[in-house]
Symmetry: C2
Subunit: 380 residues, 2 copies
Amino acid sequence: MKNYLFAPGPVSVPPEVLLELARPLIHHRTADFSVILDAVRERLKPLFGTRQEVLVLSSSGTGAMEAAVVNLIQRGEEAIFVNGGKFGERWGKMIAAHGAVPREVRVEWGRAVRPEQIEDALRAYPAARAIFMQASETSTCALHPAEAVAAITRGRDVMLVVDGITSVGVIEQKMDEWGVDALLTGSQKALMLPPGLGLIALSERAWKRAEGNRARGYYFDLMRELKAQRDDHTTAYTPAVALIFALNKSLELLHAETLSRVFARQRTMAEATRAAAAALKLELLAPDNPAPGVTGILTPSGLDGSKLVRLMRDRCGVTVQGGQDQMKGKLVRIGHMGYLGPFDMLVAVSALEIGLKQLDYRFELGAGVAAAQSIIARGI
Amino acid sequence: MKNYLFAPGPVSVPPEVLLELARPLIHHRTADFSVILDAVRERLKPLFGTRQEVLVLSSSGTGAMEAAVVNLIQRGEEAIFVNGGKFGERWGKMIAAHGAVPREVRVEWGRAVRPEQIEDALRAYPAARAIFMQASETSTCALHPAEAVAAITRGRDVMLVVDGITSVGVIEQKMDEWGVDALLTGSQKALMLPPGLGLIALSERAWKRAEGNRARGYYFDLMRELKAQRDDHTTAYTPAVALIFALNKSLELLHAETLSRVFARQRTMAEATRAAAAALKLELLAPDNPAPGVTGILTPSGLDGSKLVRLMRDRCGVTVQGGQDQMKGKLVRIGHMGYLGPFDMLVAVSALEIGLKQLDYRFELGAGVAAAQSIIARGI
């Protein structure tokens, strides 16, 4: 059975990129490797919307999150985090795990954090040194207003750290213009790669903060990594060479497509998926602020969402993801990141319809597919 | 020009393993992934010589070193480290970077640490909670006596952490029998993979130590990772899926060859390289305790070792590594790990000879190759 991957990461990888992974290894202390590393770091900048250095880490996206925590806050310091889902929650755990004091801004699952909540938190915790948030919360498929939060933090001595794991490469990021202090992502989402690389950029003032921080750990010490990557054109420790070569290829593909077309394609895929849900009378978990890279569709009440996800996978070969924690069995998350074109969304929606029919949900078969198709047609 | 990789990592990867990297991605929260992860973790045990759990981390070997540090010692605690080269030195920096107190056992480059030095250090620093050492120090190509050190630590409340990055898969490791408390390696050496995976096993008492340690960080928190990998058959965070599939293939190849033949092949390659050096009247940096996975040959005085390495690479397409720090320009390191057979060492030795000739070192061209060949012939 042919399999189709619509998870919000890992995602489908283009064959050209997979073949890059199969190339014989070269050593990482060579001019050949330096050329590739430099190219990758340069090609990432427009995706981050930054003129600052983008660093490549051999870790998952969670490792890049950890790098932000250990470099930008110190033990005992307070840090605000936006908890609107599993990944927001992770910020809190991570801050605590490193001996700092997490201060929570709670957001209902599916909602976006409101800028007033950030203002309130800054008033309540005037000693807070940083705010940690997601650009888009993968567990609830909700988009947070990173730009609006940056408008608050950029005039104050508070760092804004944004997890862009399901945003960078999906929608335009203007890190420098907005005033975001750290933006990070992982390789296995919009960058169309297998997991294994974390990517992070810091603002000028964040670099100053990191420099003044004497306890930056070792593996994720970004000052050390900056020196290695910027000055010596290599990494501080042995890097995931094969993935870096593959990243260079995938960035080449994205830039050849042009970023504006990439973002337009992403928008069409998201809109097609949302239109299908509406046509099927299904609601979104985040109707007012849907995430750009993954759509979270609530399963009709009384219908087992986990069973739906299994049916789609086992009968149709279509992998999507269910909900986590409180949304277990109640949510279907359809990812639209990676090596996908708008037409692929017809496959995802069709499998969703077939699964729903088998669970006796009442609707006209094909209604979702037709709605998705009209969105696609509009753009052609 | 065909290129030959004899670096002490990254190493040549078998084509079957490279092709595994080019396979379409599957999701890491699936039964298919669990089967592979379980297989990998099981197949690693004989290479570690342990019945304990071996965990897979998405990081380089340095990340696995950091995991040992943050899980087994706490801030303010003392830890002894054996500093006989660049990687020994790294233990010290890492211990300090995490707020613990490094206590150095200094070893001359090329020498092995003597068990008496460990006894002395334990007397001098009775509060030390752990000893960190290399099984084999890649920068000096020297083997340290991990077994003898374990004989000292296993009866005391001191953990022994061994970096086996250039030993696991090269020579037999008997972690359980010797009483080593943590043994770790990376994917890019004897395991014949690209870099990007760290692998670590802990002894029973090391797991207890980790459990009692409340500040284990987040990304490298091994208790969290143990629960995920042992109980849930997946990883705590998104893993480097493609590399894990490739590791499964490379372990399949190693076990098909049988470990005893793998170790015999490794021994032959090391002996052939050493015999060649002797025939060329070249000395080793570690003549009494040469490392099994990489041979460090001193360049004749007056001859520029960096130039030799460059000649071998640029004229012959043969990548070896020079010396670091105090050995810069004075050492040639020929790795014999990865996808190599004994006959490949003829290529490395031949390029070494040609480079030496071009730098006017006087010897009979072919003497090294002949010596290597006799060692190979002996085993056939």
